[in-house]
Subunit: 210 residues, 2 copies
Amino acid sequence: MSLRHAVLGLLSEAPASGYDLMKLFNATLSMVWPATQSQVYGELGKLTTAGMVEVTAHGPRGRKEYAITDEGLTELRHWLTKVEPSGPQRDDGLLRVFFLGIVTPLEAQTFLLHQAELAARTRAMCEQVDENAQWDDEMISVYGRIALEYGLRMSAAQEEWARWAAEQVTTAKARRASELAHAQHEGPGQGHETQGKDAEGPQGDETGGT
Amino acid sequence: MSLRHAVLGLLSEAPASGYDLMKLFNATLSMVWPATQSQVYGELGKLTTAGMVEVTAHGPRGRKEYAITDEGLTELRHWLTKVEPSGPQRDDGLLRVFFLGIVTPLEAQTFLLHQAELAARTRAMCEQVDENAQWDDEMISVYGRIALEYGLRMSAAQEEWARWAAEQVTTAKARRASELAHAQHEGPGQGHETQGKDAEGPQGDETGGT
DNA sequence: GCACGCATGTAATTGGTTACATGATTGC
DNA sequence: GCAATCATGTAACCAATTACATGCGTGC
């Protein structure tokens, strides 16, 4: 239930309307906790009912400015210090890695190098934000800087990993090729290997269907 | 829609029942793409309707063994090579970092060091798996090894980051303390600082939009 | 007066979690 | 006979996404 806490967190810095919050989500939290407009408005309603935020001003065009209440601040502090973070899960890039065995080594490599490229781009983006931001001494920016550093380090590690992984595939491919050449001394069959699953033996029949 | 592909991926290695798949999800994909029993059975139904898997055997206790079809394999390959991975998002640990300004520096540090501890535990787990596994030369294990290495590197980087971050808070705290001491020469007002929002003024009300 | 940005909301659908319900087989 | 494990499914709920609907205010 962290959308709630993201909203409370943003409101803890300054009062804002739903519209403002959407801009903040897109500007600062899009990589960490994306949210849609309908979610934000919905959550503001629920938070108001729960007494964790309240409308503090009405502006033009029906604008409602929300501010966090003491109750909301208590809840936010509780979440920050007492509730165990669950950590990231569901990485559909990594999920693909598990199944790369069913495409050709070349395709697998292409995939991994593409992942490296994406990570590099993310890193570049983080670096640019880092340079453009003015990191003053204020406490508020310390944590922004720390969060950015996370992105920086993770994307760097990801890129390195992906390049390393692509190389692993090369060496594995080479090893298999040499084994194949060696096997051909005994029984040279059809020379070229087609694409397809390379892990054949264990499970009997395959793509044949019924 | 990656649950679908996780199921197809597992079935591409060997036919399995829903029950088997659940064990596989818990054993090998729990960190990457967790799934619940109801999800798995539901997805098997949808995949059957879509013609991507089929029931190939009936066992005791109503057991149904599913196998991937050519259509399913095509879909899996397409997803692996043609569909852009979206990468990880929604890290509720990192989300907390953005709002650490509202708790005391000490609490923030405690949080960060705890994160380091969690990452260290994850890394230890990965290392143990690495040792216990027998990494033979087969292609099939190359990708398992690569995925594990990802976990290894990411948790290591995460731990380092968290320790670094905790230190950043120390230095920021020290700087603020010295500034406070300096300020007291001119105007020693209310001496004790309560916990609470320390970032008050800087941004007026408007944070520029896109 | 018209386009653009501000501003709020609802409805429909999908994806995911938790809990419940049921029953067959195996091993002791 | 009893417990553990195998095995399948449904129902209710919550979280998130997409699409739709509406209207005011400002500046040109």
